[in-house]
């Protein structure tokens, strides 16, 4: 089995070529903590060849940690005796962007004695504008064969296969020894000269791009387009994903109804119903959201709009230490932090990505909504002011949503100003690729891989914690009474912790169980108060809370606590996997707990002063 490396700069159409060469025979490996994915696939026409698709990179001179990993992996692969060939993709329509990198790849490959074939991609675009590229002469200058191809139409793929078979005879004059020791500076000058000689000139290739940018980046039409597209994105994860999420729950419910009654032992039956189906359901329900958000973001990236959206948002977000690319993950976080953390992969600067990770859990996610609804209904009067124009409950909901976003931006602003680590930062130099129609197949492949990553990586952690919490709530009285379970006992132990918020052990238990998912708080509180289906019908629970001795201060303190605290095991699990750092997840959990607790105590004490 020989290996072939496929490498190229971003936006060179490399993924489409990979898909063309491998069909659907591939798998993806992920480097934890960075945005780098390496796909490997079999080429059907060459059964003994494995194609390795490297992440797009602009240079072999890495300037960020992510790039370093990709470049190191490429250089290590060149040492691998099984690697027989390197395919380097260039965008034939924009040679000046790719040639320096290509010359670096040719030099490094020559050092390791590996042959390189340059794939001049997007020839269909050149031909559609009646332009051409002198591939023979370019090959002579690069000292490597150049194959004109089109990833979109598939034209030229047979010649790539021929090159990999070794059917392409290289001229004797291509003595690679000469290029082995050429320093980067000389390669840069050579690339510049070659681009001027072989690159296309004139406006024809960017005419459409300039015209569309005139609309999408215009201060009026661009603003409308931005809000409309972001609205659709938000709808996709909030509304369109809902039926699919319901379907997952229904399928699991039907399966549980079918399997559970067949189990004889009561404990085994409860475990299967609540821990197994409950636990699996707790994370499988996020898969449609992850799939849909990845799909929509992929559409935005492939169409070229993502870069424009990042440009539009960059300036205001920079004030808070973020980048324009942070906007979509943060907006997604208003629906759910889990797909939002995946969406942060689009941020190439490791420092900005870390700051975005910190902001996402503070976005007011949909799981907080039932908690907010319950507490606001219990403590804020349903009356209105200004002739019905302002409803106090609506205003309270708006304020708590805004409070979460404010806290997220406050945290990133403070951390970015106090942490001086600029080594993992990247300058804001953003390529605005041409607008293109997205290709569905590679996009669906990415969505599938992302969903699979969630289920196989984060799913294990989420499931383990779900089982742990179930055991605590079930034993030693076998599910008879949550109040006298180990979880109830823990609630009593931590009661002094919540006493400064005016909360007793029952709220402590509900907060502990809400670690599985925030909305579990409502159901648990209902169970403790002896109210059936409190998560579906809140009114009796609201009544119960109002009749208890809980004060307005405690209610507002709980709202503030839930707005800040990161008690969501799914978010923490995916944060640990995506950042490659379990300690980051633990630190964020502890940090936000302390922040939430301190803010809640302060709010409780302040409210008590005025009531």
């Amino acid at each position: 089995m020989s290996k072939v490396l496929l490498i190229g700069s971003p936006n060179s159409g490399k993924s489409l070529l990979f898909n063309r060469l491998t069909g659907l025979h591939h798998k993806v490996a992920n480097f934890p903590g960075i945005t780098v994915d390496v796909s490997t696939g079999r080429v059907p026409d060459l059964p003994d060849v494995e194609l390795i698709d490297f992440p797009g990179t602009y240079s072999l001179q890495a300037i960020s940690a992510d790039e370093r990993v990709a470049v190191d992996y490429f250089e290590r692969s060149l040492d691998d005796p099984d690697v027989s060939h390197v395919l380097c993709v260039v965008d034939a329509t924009r040679l000046e962007k790719s040639l320096y990198f290509t010359l670096q790849v040719i030099r490094e490959s020559a050092r390791h004695g590996k042959p390189v074939t340059v794939l001049a991609n997007m020839m269909d675009v050149l031909e559609s504008h009646k332009l051409s590229l002198d591939v023979e002469q370019l090959a002579v200058e690069l000292q490597a064969p150049v194959v004109p191809v089109s990833g979109r139409s598939g034209k030229g793929i047979d010649r790539v296969i021929a090159a990999l078979r070794g059917d392409m005879v290289l001229p004797q004059t291509w003595a690679t020894e000469r290029s082995v020791d050429v320093p980067d500076e000389q390669l840069r000058v050579k690339a510049h000269k070659l681009a001027q000689r072989f690159g296309t000139s004139g406006d024809v290739l960017i005419r459409n791009q300039t015209r569309l940018d005139g609309i999408f980046l215009h201060s009026v039409t661009g603003g409308f387009a931005f809000f409309f597209i972001m609205y659709l994105l938000f709808q996709s994860i909030f509304t369109w994903a809902a039926p699919l999420m319901d379907a997952v729950e229904t399928v699991l419910g039907v399966a549980a109804d079918w399997i559970v009654p067949k189990i004889g032992n009561q404990t085994a039956r409860d475990f299967t119903a609540d821990a197994l189906f409950g636990g699996v359901g707790a994370f499988l329900v996020f898969v449609p959201q992850i799939f849909i958000l990845t799909f929509v973001i992929g559409l935005l990236e492939d169409s070229g709009y993502m870069a424009r959206a990042a440009l539009i948002c960059h300036k205001p977000l920079r004030l808070f230490g973020l980048t324009g690319k942070s906007f979509i993950p943060m907006l997604s976080g208003v629906a759910c932090a889990i797909p939002a953390i995946y969406a942060a992969r689009a941020i190439d600067s490791p420092r900005k990505r870390l700051l975005t990770y910190m902001a996402i859990p503070l976005m007011p996610c949909s799981a907080r909504l039932p908690v907010y609804t319950l507490l606001i209904a219990a403590f804020i009067p349903a009356s209105t002011a200004l002739g019905g124009l302002v409803g106090w409950q609506g205003l309270a909901m708006f304020m708590i949503y805004f409070f979460g976003m404010f806290c997220g931006l406050l945290v990133t602003a403070l951390v970015s100003r106090t942490s001086k680590d600029h080594h993992s930062d990247l300058p804001f130099v953003l390529e605005l690729p041409p607008y293109r129609l997205p290709s569905l197949k590679p996009l669906l492949r990415t969505c599938w891989n992302r969903s699979k990553h969630f289920v196989t990586k984060a799913g294990k952690i989420i499931f383990a914690v779900t089982v742990g919490v179930w055991v605590l709530g079930y034993f030693p009285n076998f599910g008879a009474d949550l109040g006298t379970s180990w979880l109830g006992y823990l609630g009593h132990i931590i009661e002094p912790l919540f006493a400064p918020l005016g909360l007793d052990w029952r709220y402590g238990v509900a907060i502990l169980s809400s670690f599985l998912a925030r909305e579990v708080f409502v159901g648990t509180l209902g169970t403790i108060f002896g109210i059936e289906s409190a998560d579906e019908q809140m009114a009796p629970l609201v009544q119960h809370i109002q009749n208890s001795d809980m004060t307005l201060g405690s209610g507002i303190a709980l709202l503030v606590f839930f707005a800040i605290a990161l008690q969501c095991i799914s978010t923490l699990a995916i944060l640990a996997k995506e950042s490659g750092s379990s300690s980051l997840a633990v630190k964020m959990f502890a940090g936000y707990f302390l922040f939430a607790y301190a803010a809640a105590v302060a709010v409780y004490q302040l409210t008590n002063l005025f009531t």
């Binding site: 300039t210 300036k315 300058p427 804001f428």
Partner: protein, 82 residues
């Protein structure tokens, strides 16, 4: 007239003269890799409102740069007949 890239307005063209010393070495290298070489012609395609990053064209590629980068790229504004 010598100035920096950030000062260009939509429709302006210039030639890159060099980079100022405040620009981090790795950023300078990355800009050169993108095609922002001294001597290269650059045009400003769009200068957006509220200090948003500007859009520049180098050869057939379009980039967006914010003021933290563009203000360190030294340029000579091209006269209309250039």
């Amino acid at each position: 007239m010598n100035t920096n890239l950030w000062s260009l307005k939509s429709g302006d063209r210039c030639e890159i003269v060099g980079y100022d010393d405040a620009l981090d070495e790795k950023y300078r290298i990355r800009l050169m890799e993108f095609g922002f070489h001294p001597g290269e012609s650059v045009s400003c395609l769009q200068s957006l409102a509220f200090g948003a990053p500007k859009v520049y064209r180098v050869s057939n590629t379009v980039f967006s740069l914010d003021d933290e980068v563009a203000s360190h790229v030294l340029v000579r504004i091209a006269t209309p007949h250039e």
